[in-house]
Symmetry: C2
Subunit: 144 residues, 2 copies
DNA sequence: ATTCATGCAAACGGTTTGCACGCAT
DNA sequence: ATGCGTGCAAACCGTTTGCATGAAT
């Protein structure tokens, strides 16, 4: 809401028309520290009083993703898709097996490796995804 | 089929009864160089003349995975689950954006990193997943 | 004999689509 | 004015579940 200007700019940058829903969805993603599912986005829009529709949310996320403004992920062994703002900062995630929360970590240990492996296998590498699994502080404590 | 003994042993090792379907599903996974979806496994069993049922395939894969005999994965931005034999060798995958094929690569560049990051974030790390995206030789050629 | 795996059919959750209407440029 | 975004309802696909039957130890 407050940063409406920002979302206008982001949309323009992606060559997309400004619409209320797109801005709202971007703001939901922007306010979240973790990737969010379509359903949850829909819920937050509802409770925020924005009359909207699940399929609109899906369609919007699709177009945002196709312009590279958001990133579509999913954590292993879960079938539903998650979305996050594409901040352009290269990040990886720590994923708690217990509570399913995701924590972002900056930095990347495998840039050179990526290059090597591409050469070795004849691959034109465009990116990668690294997820680290384990138990977060809280779940670690509960577990013993 | 030919290595039926092996699958018997694998099942025993997981503390599971031997059944025809389990052995067949293990053999399908064993013959595949890439992770396979439940639907495709079902199809292969059908064409192999084994009367079976999709839900049996799902249930079997679940129990195999729960015993650590197979691994359940999924590639980013696709929602359907894939399964592969757990060979115990630590592997990662090269995934072609063009044809969606996955190629296994041995070795792991981030074992030490994993440890560091766990300490830094108070995480009890149990594993990780690394996927490298790009275009394989063939798709690279087609693309230009 | 008992426990556990299987087939079938039906339910389910997340996601996609066709169509008519409404909004942004 | 035109094209694109939206709402609604229905379809869709992968996956899960309840129940009765069949097989493995």
């Amino acid at each position: 809401m407050e940063n409406d200007k920002d979302y206008r700019a982001i949309l323009k940058q992606g060559g997309l028309k400004y619409t209320k829903h797109r801005a709202l969805i971007l703001s939901v993603l922007g306010e979240s520290s973790q990737p969010v599912g379509a359903g949850e986005i829909f819920l937050r829009l509802q409770t925020a009083g924005a009359g909207t529709n699940l399929s609109t949310v899906y369609r919007t996320l699709d177009t945002l993703a196709s312009k590279g403004l958001v990133i579509k992920t999913n954590i292993a062994s879960d079938t539903k898709a998650l979305f996050e703002l594409n901040t352009m900062e290269h990040k990886h995630h720590l994923i708690c097996i217990g509570c399913k929360k995701m924590f972002s970590v900056d930095g990347c240990p495998i840039e050179e490796y990526e290059e090597q492996i591409g050469k070795r296998e004849g691959f034109d590498v465009t990116g990668h995804k690294l997820e680290i699994y384990g138990f977060c502080k809280e779940c670690k404590a509960e577990r013993k």
